[in-house]
């Protein structure tokens, strides 16, 4: 095990002792850079009632480089693709070392509450979302029921 920066230890401890509402995260036993995460679907979104599994990995360069996060639970969302990859600016060019695991997970939860079909990652989902929003939302709700409950 390589020496972990103190910041990661600190973040982990705070995250486990006092995680934000609807979010929990715990590091794997053998690798403190690799977290198992669950995020509850926000209220009054099509994902309400679902609990989504994610995995989060802190690269060697963290916090200078962003964590790698992806969904493990299937989800119908214009900004999340089949492989669970997430289109979120702070995970890419808008990353800042002042951000942390907590803020990243909160942003992901917010993304569930506010899908953005104009900046799509899953093109078919985004198109459906734009053309027939109510059908897309119904689909998202159905997937939540099927895979996230």
């Amino acid at each position: 095990m390589s020496a972990l920066p103190k910041r990661i230890l600190k973040e982990t401890e705070r995250l486990m002792a006092d995680s934000p509402p609807g979010i929990s995260a715990a590091p794997k036993d053998d690798n403190l850079r690799h977290f198992d995460v669950t995020v509850a679907g926000p209220e009054s979104s099509p994902y309400e009632g679902g609990v989504f599994k994610l995995e989060l990995f802190l690269p060697e360069e963290y916090p200078m480089n962003p964590p790698k996060v992806r969904f493990l639970t299937k989800i119908y969302h214009p900004n999340i693709d089949k492989l669970g990859r997430i289109c979120l600016d702070i995970l890419k060019d808008k990353w800042s070392p002042a951000l942390q695991i907590r803020t990243v997970l909160l942003s992901i939860q917010a993304l569930l509450g506010a899908p953005n079909p104009d900046d799509p990652l899953a093109n078919d989902v985004a198109q459906n979302w734009k053309e027939n929003q109510s059908a897309a939302i119904a689909q998202a709700r159905e997937w939540t029921r099927q895979y996230a409950q």
Binding site: M1, S2, A3, L4, P5, K6, R7, L9, K10, E11, T12, E13, M16, A17, D18, S19, P20, P21, G22, I23, S24, A25, A26, P27, D29, N31, L32, R33, H34, D36, V37, T38, A40, V51, K53, E55, F57, E60, E61, P63, M64, N65, K68, R70, L72, L83, G84, K94, S96, P97, A98, Q100, R102, T103, L106
Partner: protein, 379 residues
């Protein structure tokens, strides 16, 4: 919570936070923390937008992107300025933090004064004496005690005794200063007059040091303190051969491995490895070295070298271990399914936790508006 006993987290030694009834102290505590490393500033510097970070933190961050981590404004390394006032503040805060934490704790239960002290009414000093008198006779000496408003006259054993102070010789009393010594009216322990009220407040604990040697002890401590100050300052004395001047970054694209080796050897650093290795070693060294010039508590060059060696070997170990293996595995559908099945119980546990906690929070919120603190913490 059982999770905080994670074997890999045991190394963490966190200073205790301030109790939640002191939000202003918590805020002050947070303001001393660098937004990059989340630790109290080490060698704080300010950049052109006005935000401050540890020198090493912002230098590493600017290697990756030329933006302020807090406000996203474009900044260059040239705008880094040492912030001496902030450094002094952080130092002073770190020094006073334990005291403030102590003061912020709820007051401990006062121990009852020792029973025997009441029966012993022996008087040692002729200047000032205390007498235990039955409640009935309090009026007789009322005028004498009334003239000294600051003296402790309240009764600790209310049932039958009242403590009265009687000045036998008024002229002598007037010459007393706060530093003079007198016996405690309750337990007769000798101590400076100024500390008697506090001593009684605490319930007459036995004095820690012999009052007589107090002055001598104080001087001795002072001497030792000064010695500490001077020896602490003398740390940088060994490093004469290297010029303590900011290193200018070489143009890595145009530098040959030999050029990089020349700079590395100038600072007595290893010159092994290929160009990328040399480059990353030099980059990290420049960050360590330059940021070391931004603090009043610089590390020795050998300490910096050790730090560099440690981070390099740590990086190498990570690479050999193939950390991204798991991440790569997750990119394929089979790998993902496999991972999900292996970790099923873990996720189940997290899931239960999330649901339970939400329920608890909701219950609490119904009781009173509790969600406010969290909203602030989110930043």
């Amino acid at each position: 919570m059982d999770m905080s006993s994670h074997p890999l987290l045991s190394a963490l030694d966190e200073p205790a936070p301030f109790p939640s009834q002191y939000p202003q102290l918590r805020r002050l505590d947070r303001s001393m923390v660098c937004q990059i490393c989340k630790e109290p500033f080490t060698g704080p510097v300010t950049i052109s937008c006005g935000h401050s970070f540890c020198s090493a933190c912002i230098r590493s961050s600017l290697e990756v992107m030329k933006k302020c981590p807090s406000c996203n404004e474009t900044v260059t390394e040239g705008s880094i300025r040492r912030n001496r006032a902030l450094e002094e503040m952080v130092d002073a805060w770190e020094e006073s933090r334990p005291t403030l934490i102590d003061l912020a704790q709820p007051p401990r239960k006062r121990p009852a004064p020792p029973e025997t002290s009441h029966s012993k009414a022996s008087l040692s000093s002729g200047v000032k004496r205390a007498r235990l008198s039955p409640t009935g006779s309090a009026n007789a000496s009322g005028s004498a005690s009334g003239s000294r408003s600051g003296s402790p006259t309240k009764s600790r054993r209310a049932n039958d005794v009242v403590v009265e102070e009687i000045d036998e010789n008024e002229d002598d009393v007037l010459e007393l200063t706060e530093n003079d010594e007198a016996p405690c009216p309750l337990c007769q322990a000798t101590m400076p007059i100024s500390s008697i009220p506090l001593h009684i407040e605490k319930g007459c604990p036995p004095p820690k040091a012999k009052p007589k040697s107090n002055g001598v002890l104080g001087k001795g401590n002072q001497k030792a303190d000064w010695k500490k100050v001077f020896s602490g300052q003398g740390l940088g004395g060994k490093t004469k051969e290297v010029e303590m001047k900011r290193i200018t970054k070489p143009n890595y694209a145009l530098s040959s491995p030999a050029d990089l080796r020349a700079i590395l050897s100038e600072y007595s650093l290893p010159t092994t490895g290929d160009k990328p290795t040399l480059q990353s070693r030099l980059q990290e060294w420049i960050i360590l070295f330059n940021s070391n010039l931004d603090t009043s508590h610089p590390s020795s060059l050998s300490a910096l070298r050790a730090k560099l060696a440690e981070s390099e070997s740590s990086k190498r170990r990570d690479k050999e271990k193939g950390k991204d293996e798991v991440v790569n595995q997750l990119a394929s559908k089979d790998g993902l399914a496999k991972y999900a099945s292996v970790k099923k119980s873990e996720f189940e546990r997290l899931r239960r936790e999330i649901i339970e906690r939400d329920k608890r929070r909701k219950d609490a919120e119904e009781g009173k508006g509790d969600g406010k603190e969290n909203a602030i913490e989110v930043e």
